[in-house]
Subunit: 311 residues, 2 copies
């Protein structure tokens, strides 16, 4: 549960007021989930692939990437609704990465978010194609923003997203993660993996929000730094939950990372050290937010949520 709170950084002229992160989250998760459903419904494609794509998209999750995009647009005083298509694209890319990561030849997971993984339901071939379809469709969706944004802005958005998701981002991180299995990694190597495997797409979420709100170069740089700390905090919390979490809440076996011989922050730094490292990143992330003269209350609340999340 997130405690209701008021935000000290709210700008007086921001047209959109939310009394708590809960209200914001509820509003935009609903919007996102409707758009996810509608985006699949309107596809002219064999029903089995639409079903497989929709299955993993509707399996829930925190929707942290879309929320970061919406919260960043809100921070600039923009209407977050204008970001619905890139938010949908972000969630599709995240979901495709989970489907492919879970495959037998990768992490070989049977459960994700407490329900059978895509390939357990639809078979490996359709799961691979559902991932391919989600990835490709996410770029198609970005081209449909021409009423709200000009061509240059859309191209910039596609550049950010493709770089974050591709070989220089998430795909590269997944490769490094697989190569690092069974090895004892240094903190630097572990950070390389996390910055690429999860960090780049979190950074892209914030950057997309900023670019769609016409943020300047300095703001883009500060928000990139913010998101990098947030991303590492997110991953350290993940590692802590893997050892201390509630199986029902996290939807997978506690200890499964160490079972799979993955390097983790608690293994590298001890549990106390990992918790200190988490605090350090959270504090740095918040310090950057407080330097921005934007309405960063909701971004700050998301940061608190990442620090304290139990699933």
């Amino acid at each position: 549960m997130v405690k209701k709170r008021f935000f000290p950084y709210r700008r007086r002229n921001n047209p959109l007021q939310y009394s708590s992160l809960n209200d914001f989250t509820k509003t935009y998760k609903k919007l996102l989930e409707e758009q996810l459903k509608q985006s699949i419904d309107q596809l002219s494609a064999p029903s089995i692939i639409k079903d497989a794509m929709a299955y993993s998209l509707s399996a829930g999750g925190k929707r942290i990437r879309p929320l970061l995009l919406f919260a960043t647009m809100h921070a600039f005083g923009e209407d977050p609704k204008k970001g619905i298509l890139p938010a949908t694209a972000l969630e599709m890319i995240h979901t495709y990465s989970l489907i492919h990561d879970d495959l037998p030849s990768m992490d070989d997971d049977d459960l994700r978010r407490g329900i059978p993984t895509n390939h357990k339901v639809y078979g490996e071939a359709i799961a691979i194609l559902a991932g391919d379809g989600l990835l490709t469709y996410s770029f198609q969706l970005l081209t449909k923003m021409q009423k709200e944004f000009n061509g240059e802005t859309i191209v910039k958005a596609i550049e950010i997203l493709s770089q974050a998701a591709g070989p220089e981002g998430m795909v590269g991180g997944q490769v490094a993660d697989m190569e690092g299995e069974e090895k004892k990694l240094s903190q630097e190597e572990l950070e390389y993996i996390h910055i690429h495997k999860t960090g780049k797409l979190l950074i892209a979420s914030v950057l997309l929000g900023a670019v769609l709100s016409k943020g300047n170069q300095k703001q883009l740089q500060q928000l990139t730094n913010f998101a990098q700390h947030l991303g590492l905090a997110f991953q350290i919390r993940d590692d802590i939950l893997d050892l201390e979490g509630d199986e029902e809440l996290i939807g997978k076996r506690v200890g499964s990372d160490s079972y799979n011989h993955k390097s983790t922050y608690p293994a590298l730094l001890t549990m106390d050290g990992a918790k200190k490292e988490l605090d350090t990143h959270i504090n740095k992330a918040k310090a950057i937010l407080s330097e921005l003269s934007l309405d960063t209350g909701i971004l700050e609340a998301i940061t608190d949520l990442v620090a304290n999340r139990v699933s």
Copy 2:
């Protein structure tokens, strides 16, 4: 071997003159292969994924999609070199689709173009990620055309490519193909598969060339029709080669489609019927070209090549 020939439709003011398809092909295949290599080299990513991507990209092939794009730009009197990045993107998307199609859970092929398939060399996980990486990177490359084209044109190009490659195009066709295995398909069902699985990306190749050359709506429609006939001809020729081809030239076992219980045109229409159907599509494709007041000589030569190809 392609016979050298001169083109009746060459416009007098076209600055780029080629005495034969061979010259054109040689020039632009070289340009493409250099760009493919350079695009991978410049990636900041783990070397294993760069190697895996480069392995399948450099395995050769006819490069028919890039050549169609270059030839279409040439038909409009545009410098084909301006299309090098979308041509590279097309070849990357085609190559990703081959890597994923060859996987054990899909067609389970050990050989492609006479050499071991990607997963036989790099393992299944890296092969899946190499495909994911090529697909994502292809969209990133399209965002790098901002010196040559404006934002709206680039967005249009990304729209064409993502729709052709995604669930409404190639991915949907692959799903329909898998679902159609072990079934006796009607000609209509077989055409649905081929129009989506291979046709849409061939159409996109021609459309991209036309859009980058500022073709008008009528020209886009005519070129779409042309490419649809060309795509079906390509597939029928494929089916014929699967039964009558030279194993060394086609790089796979003769009869492997019927061995895999795939529906084919010769099975549906008899070999003679399939050859007549091939002629019909080739003639329709050429009739459309002759209606266009463009310099379509090279497109016509490519059409002849598709009709008569032996590999």
